[in-house]
């Protein structure tokens, strides 16, 4: 047989500057979501400025909104809604999507066909439209929003996970495990899942971005988080009147959204690759 050195190949973690920077921004917003509001200089509901759409000042770091409230404080609190709701929804969506997707791939047959057909049909309703119809019917309290966003993004996650699992399912090691007599649950959890975790995590990140975008979009239309609470999308909507004078009240929440979503996307594109150097 051919001799290969018994030394373990070299491992290394490499991450470029863009990846590190975007990772830090994502981390920052997660931190803000947890502890941000306790650092808010003003209560988010207090009217602190006689002027509306006030400029940036040492007192009001990001100016004031259409009622003269402190935008900086409102963004800190809004982070909790935007990040929190989206995160809860993406967890539910990806968990159910991945579990269903792997099960469908392994079991196959009728189960797979019916599930795929129904979920594909749901997937073919444009997400914003789905949101509008459901919000019209059942309103938009926070728990409803979370479930709604999760339901909208489950079919996509299912489709993605199923495609990965189907590829995996054709490989010989699955045949070996089947021939050994393994049950579905083992095939899913031990043979398939470890091989699709990477792409599934990347998909988790992308889907989180989609959900943030949809939630902000709904709030912008006034159909998402309802006053007096406000997420970043609602903040843009409330202050859209300030657009004509380029008020910081409307620009700041826009920057917040963009910084979060662009960072998550860039982070996924520049994930630290575990490098296995071919010696």
């Amino acid at each position: 047989m051919n001799q290969t050195p018994l030394l373990s190949p070299r491992f290394g973690l490499r991450m470029n500057a863009v990846g590190i920077l975007s990772g830090l921004i994502v981390l920052f917003w997660i931190l803000v979501a947890f502890v941000g509001p306790s650092f808010a200089p003003h209560a988010p509901g207090d009217i602190v400025d006689f002027d509306f759409f006030g400029p940036i000042s040492s007192e009001l770091w990001l100016g004031s909104d259409y009622l003269g409230r402190d935008i900086f404080s409102r963004i800190l609190l809004g982070t909790r809604y935007t990040v929190g709701i989206s995160f809860a929804a993406v967890c539910i969506a990806c968990f159910s999507g991945v579990v269903l997707g792997m099960t469908a791939a392994v079991i196959g047959g009728w189960f797979d066909m019916v599930l795929s057909r129904v979920l594909d049909a749901l997937n073919s309703i444009p997400s914003k439209l789905f949101g509008l119809v459901m919000v019209a019917a059942i309103g938009s309290s926070i728990p409803v929003l979370i479930v709604l966003l999760a339901v909208i993004y489950t079919p996509g996650s299912y489709r993605f996970a199923r495609a990965l699992a189907v590829n995996c399912n054709t490989l010989d090691f699955i045949s070996v495990a089947r021939a050994r007599g393994e049950k579905t649950i083992y095939l899913i959890s031990q043979e398939i899942l470890p091989n699709i975790t990477g792409p599934v995590l990347a998909d988790f990140g992308l889907r989180f971005v989609f959900i943030v975008l949809l939630l902000s979009g709904l709030s912008f239309l006034g159909l998402g988080v309802q006053p007096p609470n406000a997420d970043w999308g609602s903040l843009v909507k409330e202050n859209i009147g300030g657009l004509a004078f380029a008020a910081p009240a409307v620009i700041a929440p826009c920057v917040a959204i963009a910084s979060l979503t662009i960072s998550v996307n860039l982070l996924i594109d520049n994930l630290p690759v575990k490098i296995r150097d071919r010696a």
Partner: protein, 552 residues
């Protein structure tokens, strides 16, 4: 001596690894090619033979680059040339015949349009002249229906035909040098012979020079004037074909040659108690199986196996030999319960087995294990060697913790792998090591029977020979019985007591080891056995033209 047609001088090629590190994959290679001469580059996977051949076209695959050296073609250095100038040479001065013509033909265009594309690119002649020339080449390459075969799309012709069409595509621009990149490796032996013969006659007639890249010494012996043996990106030995075959100097070349003479078959010593009663441990009767929905006649849409029967006695080995599409791998899946047969029976130790895995008991499953061809896909890349071997121990024998660990070590010893490998992931192992782990997993169950599906086909010759030796040793130690599925006569001959020849899903003939290969009676078996290339430069020319197999 006349000026050589092509010359490589002190060539170094670098490859960039995933982490951006540079590795030399070709380390100072020099050789020449005279006009009208066919030079073979021989070596195993990773020896750099294809990389070197491609530099003769001034091309390196992505991630690779020529670091140093000259590649002279007709006196001009391809390395120093601009890409535009190199484009002018490709297809007209030097042409390429790929390993897989099936992938190298664009599925969107008719074959003729792709064959004459070179002419269009370099504006060599009119479209009509090109067409006539192509048809003439098709005829010279012994393609059926040369007038019209070009009007088909690539998916409408067979693999052997595509390979010859690819040669026509290379020859249409009348190149001085043709590069053959393992052009028959993907073909069955009976097809390979036709393709080789066509290549040889065309090259001889046109007095073109060629570089023939291959891992198969016997194939190369038929077509090359000179052989260059490569390993690890360096030339090991160089000499005329006859000289290399007769008196190889370099140990590596000797090793390659030795792998061609497999150890002679020794019937396994039967365990004493079993000698008296020769009861079959596995008996398969009247199997029909296939894919797709059942039709009115009760058979699947695509029936792969028809009325296949065989039996295997304890401590003995049954070989199943056939070409691609013969249904031999399907038979393994049927016996293993992965593809339920629509008709027929599988009996283990005289007891009927359920057609599907889910209907078999754990004990029945344990007694019969499958080992698949490609260790790359047969081992879960996300699990360590210890996990892979530990699972059947836990599953069948309930072994855990220290007991399991000890048994894993024992298994690694059995397949002659160092124990330290237990913590490795599959992609950190070499091909041979993977296949050993793959086999050890089957041993872990303590089976009676192991179904080996082409387990040596993807390995280099030397590595494959070692695996076969291992299988024989283990059989002695453990009293195993193998069903050995292969397309390779030499492999089957070296290990099996009995051999079943299959074609189009039916049994053609059943032969005992001592009848191999000359005792075959059925014309297909004869054709199959006689098509295996021999290490003899005159073998191809000595063969009679095959009747009844013109177009595979």
């Amino acid at each position: 001596m006349t000026k050589p047609l092509a010359e490589i001088q002190d060539l170094y090629v670098e490859a960039r690894t995933d982490s951006g590190r540079k590795v030399e994959i070709i380390k100072g290679v020099s050789f020449t090619i005279q006009e009208g001469e066919i030079v073979a580059l021989i070596g195993e996977s990773g020896s750099g033979k294809t990389t070197i051949a491609l530099t003769l076209m001034g091309y390196t695959r992505s991630g690779c680059s020529i670091a140093k050296g000259k590649v002279l073609l007709g006196g001009e250095d391809l390395v120093a040339m601009s890409e535009r100038d190199r484009q002018k040479l490709r297809g007209t001065d030097v042409a390429y015949v790929p390993q897989s013509a099936a992938a190298a033909f664009n599925p969107s265009y008719r074959l003729i349009d792709q064959v004459v594309e070179v002419v269009g690119i370099h504006k060599l002649m009119s479209k009509n002249e090109a067409r006539l020339k192509a048809i003439e080449l098709f005829r010279a390459l012994a393609l059926p229906d040369p007038e019209h075969i070009g009007d088909r799309y690539p998916h409408q012709v067979s693999g052997g035909q595509l390979q010859r069409l690819a040669a026509a595509m290379a020859l249409i621009g009348d190149p001085q040098l043709v590069i053959f990149d393992e052009p028959t490796t993907a073909l069955d032996v009976t097809t390979q012979i036709e393709v080789l013969r066509a290549f040889k006659s065309v090259m001889r007639k046109r007095k073109m020079a060629g570089v023939y890249v291959s891992h198969d010494l016997a194939v190369v012996a038929q077509i090359a004037d000179r052989i260059i043996v490569l390993k690890g990106g360096e030339i090991q030995e160089e000499g005329s074909t006859q000289r290399i075959l007769d008196s190889a100097q370099h140990p590596y070349t000797q090793e390659l040659l030795a792998a061609f003479q497999p150890a002679p078959f020794v019937p396994p010593q039967l365990v004493e108690t079993e000698v008296s009663i020769r009861r079959p441990v596995l008996e398969v009767t009247g199997i029909y199986a296939g894919y797709g929905p059942l039709q009115a006649d009760g058979l699947p849409l695509k029936t792969v196996l028809r009325n296949v029967s065989c039996k295997l006695e304890r401590g003995r080995n049954l070989g199943v030999i056939g070409e691609s599409g013969s249904g031999k791998s399907t038979l393994a899946r049927v016996i293993g319960g992965l593809l339920p047969a629509v008709r027929g029976h599988v009996q283990l130790n005289g007891r009927e087995l359920d057609p599907r895995v889910s209907g078999r008991s754990k004990e029945e499953l344990r007694r019969m294990q499958i080992v698949f061809q490609l260790a790359d896909t047969a081992l879960n890349p996300a699990r360590s060697v210890a996990d892979i071997l530990g699972r059947p121990l836990a599953f069948y024998h309930g072994q855990k913790g220290a007991e399991q660990e000890a048994r894993v070590n024992e298994l690694l010893d059995m397949v002659r792998l160092p124990r330290a490998l237990r913590h490795r992931m599959p992609n950190e192992l070499s091909g041979g090591q993977k296949q050993r782990v793959n086999f050890a997993r089957a041993l872990a169950a303590k089976p009676d029977i192991i179904l080996c599906d082409e387990i040596t086909s993807a390995l280099d010759t030397v590595v494959a020979a070692a695996i076969i030796d291992l299988l024989k040793d283990l059989q002695q130690e453990l009293g195993l019985s193998y069903v050995f599925i292969s397309h390779d006569l030499a492999t089957v001959q070296s290990i099996c007591d009995e051999v079943m020849v299959v074609q189009h899903g039916e049994t053609v003939e059943l032969l005992t080891n001592d009848q191999l290969p000359d005792g075959a009676r059925h014309p297909y078996s004869k054709l199959l056995f006689s098509s295996v290339p021999k290490l003899d430069t005159g073998w191809l020319d000595s063969l009679p033209a095959h009747p009844g197999n013109p177009d595979r």
